[in-house]
Amino acid sequence: MSSVSSSESERSESLQSDTQPGATSSSFDIYATYERFLQNEDISTPLAAILALTELVEKSNAGTMFELVKALNDGAKSLKEGTPNPISLNCGCELFVAFVSLFPHDSDTFSELKTELVKQGRSYAAEALGYRDRIADLSLGFIKDDSILTHSYSRVVMKTLLRAHKQKRISVYVTEARPRGLGFVLNVSSLAAAGIPCTVVLDSAVAYVMDNVDFVLVGSEAVVESGGLINAVGSHQMAIIAKAANKPFYALAESYKFHRLFPLSQYDLPTHNPSILSFPRTGTLSTLSAQPLSSSISQLHEVPTVPSESHSALLVPLSMTPEQIARNPDVDYTRPDLISLVISDVGHLTPEGVSQYLVGMFAG
């Protein structure tokens, strides 16, 4: 907080000497820019953040490196405030700020350096769009005529599956990935359209299906310094079950998702807040729990008596209230010892390899 106010005061000081830069940087809405980039289907959160920050560099009239890095940090902060889950956003911001501060200063003037930075940022983003194809190619060697279990929706997993389908006969089990149901909605339609055999699996049926699959393939929100993985909630339990069944658990991650973060446990994640998994106050408890409880009781009555109608009973939307969903975590952290391999555009990395790569990348 104090850093923000100091930078504000600094900016107002520079404003007095030169009124032009302050006006432009304040009119530039970084969050709207970020949202605009996210409209593009192919651009993921970290890339959108990088592009938004690149635009910030272009628009900003900072006269020194110090000012520029300060402006970038402020921009990253305002981006973070806008989103409920800042993890993958952070990856992009961190990468770009590290890149800017380590960029060699051999330009004649600072504005030239800025144009160079903008050029580099854009070209990186353009190059990064090809990372998914590279990962799809790299992971091809791990896929035989297999049945694969995947969780939630990930663009890189989708690309890999479609790529593999061209050469191998694969079949895919997709979890529904509650509460957002991304796996169900997005995967099934595009997989079916490509002609890949595909079955939707309940999140609670992962252990049931595990014996039947050859390996687990998931995408990632971020790959962290311990070599662990942050991904849609449910990945951790999937990894535990895969470990118990001795099935490989592969994570696909573009290298811009490598994140300098070391969660010690689920409760050490930046997304965790005290309201997650908290108990509702006693007053609201009775009203909230009454509804689902009665419906589940009615199902219990129905299931043993009329087995044929149990399916129709299940079709009744067993929905949680928005408050109940809000009290549940969005992402979870998978420990490195559960992950067989992280397949990334920089190569196949073991979890230890990921941490060594990260330590080397950010410490230099």
Partner: protein, 452 residues
């Protein structure tokens, strides 16, 4: 007391010899009988001489051992299987036994004889020892200064004094000669207490600086440069590193946490105090163990700062570990395979936490990194000072009757350190970031491959 006890050790020592010679009854009489007899006679003479030597000083376990050499010696010529190699081994054994005459008086257990033992240091060292080093040696050997950081800082500060008081002899250069002046000082410190990894790393860096110092510089300037370098080392690698660690490790402490720590680490103490001054509400469980009971110091510091603390001894850890959110421990050194060498008992705490899936965080500066791989806490260790063994017991009998020192069948073993395997460590917090134990070996890489 000593005479009835003697037969037992003697029979024990004898047993392996007899067994070894008996198990190899190869009947080949290829070797010259003469040489064997000559060797046997030599053996006999040597044994007799040893017996004669040890005869006057009656107490001590050496007498039965030398006596035990007598029976097998005549038997060697009869048993034709025992070739020259056997007799050679015997004579070697005799040599090592003779060495034991000296060590055996202080310690009976030969398998621990390689552990560094705190020994009283003479005030007058051999050669030209600087008074600051003599004082430091005494402080080390009496554990007045203990802890990897404190010892390293004290050593470097003492070396600053030594360097300032050093005068290059004529026809020599500082960069060539200063090290030969420092080596006996280092030897003196090591004789007081085995060198810690931190001191080793710091001294290696100092040697590098000395050998690299400019020949053309005036002597006083060169000395000032070296002292500056030492100051910077202390500042960069210890003081600032600690501050960074405080910040990073502090971010892992959240409101409502229960932090468990073992014994006393200066870094962990600072981390906890910093987190408390950042207005985080947490409580601390200080686990401690005999004989040093260093946790008491930590407890008094933390509780006087206002942190709510519990204090318990190591055997009671099982009953509290389920309540703990995070375990923070310090380290003596860090090995490239991810193992952490720390105060004896740390491994137990870490394994216990691992068993209950409580994260174990080691706070450690990177200058404690050691390239060597250590696999157990037996090959290299130290013995804790045993002087105050009974000081913490509620005594019901007068202290004099409880003297444990002079008993011949009692050996007191207090290893000072143990090795925590990498599997029971979650993360190591260093000034270059939080590192999983599997990536400890990339620390030099993270430091830009600068020498440690």
């Amino acid at each position: 007391m000593s005479s009835p006890a003697n037969p037992y050790p003697s029979s024990q020592v004898l047993a392996p010899n007899g067994e070894a010679s008996g198990s190899k009854p190869q009947p080949t009489i290829s070797k010259a009988e003469q040489s064997r007899q000559r060797r046997a006679v030599q053996e006999q003479q040597r044994a007799a001489k040893a017996a004669a030597k040890t005869a006057p000083n009656v107490p001590g376990p050496s007498r039965p051992r030398s006596g035990s050499k007598l029976p097998p010696a005549p038997s060697t010529p009869k048993k034709s299987g025992a070739g020259p190699s056997k007799t050679q081994k015997d004579s070697k054994d005799a040599g090592s036994l003779a060495g034991d005459e000296f060590t055996g008086k202080s310690r009976g257990l030969r398998i621990f004889s390689h552990f560094g033992l705190p020994k009283p240091v003479s005030h007058v060292g051999k050669g030209d020892i600087h008074p600051a080093i003599v004082r430091l040696g005494l402080q080390f050997s009496e554990f007045k200064i203990s802890g990897a950081n404190a010892r390293c800082i004290a050593t470097l500060i003492a070396f600053k004094t030594v360097i300032q008081d050093y005068i290059t002899p004529p026809n020599n250069t500082l960069s060539r000669h200063l090290m030969t002046h420092l080596s006996p000082q280092i030897t003196h410190l090591v004789s007081a207490r085995p060198m810690s990894v931190t001191m080793g790393n710091a001294i290696r860096q100092l040697k590098l600086e000395i050998s690299g110092s400019d020949i053309d510089l005036p002597e006083q300037d060169a000395k000032d440069v070296l002292c500056h370098k030492i100051d910077h080392y202390i500042r960069d690698r210890i003081i600032i590193a600690d501050q960074v660690i405080q910040e990073i490790a502090g971010s892992k402490i959240k409101d409502g946490d229960v932090i468990l720590t073992y014994a006393r680490s200066s870094v962990v103490e600072k981390v906890l105090l910093r987190a408390f001054s950042d207005e985080k509400s947490f409580s601390v469980i200080v686990v401690d163990s005999r004989p040093m009971l260093e946790g008491k110091k930590l407890l008094s510091v933390l509780s006087s700062a206002g942190i709510s603390c519990s204090y318990l001894l190591l055997p009671a850890i099982g009953s509290v570990i389920t309540e703990v959110s995070t375990v923070f421990v310090g380290a003596h050194s860090l090995h490239s395979n991810g193992a952490v060498f720390s105060r004896a008992g740390t491994a137990l705490v870490a394994m216990m936490a691992k068993q209950h899936s409580v994260p174990v965080v080691v706070c450690c500066e990177t200058y404690k990194y050691s390239e060597g791989v250590q696999l157990d806490s037996f090959t290299k260790n130290e013995l804790a000072p045993s002087s105050d063994l009974l000081s913490s017991y509620p005594l019901t009998r007068p202290r004099e009757t409880l003297n444990l020192k002079g008993q011949p069948n009692l050996e007191i073993l207090n290893p000072l350190y143990d090795l925590t395997p990498p599997t029971s460590i979650t993360a190591v917090v260093t000034e270059v970031g939080v590192i999983p134990p599997s990536s400890i070996s990339s620390i030099p890489f993270a430091l830009g491959r600068q020498t440690l």
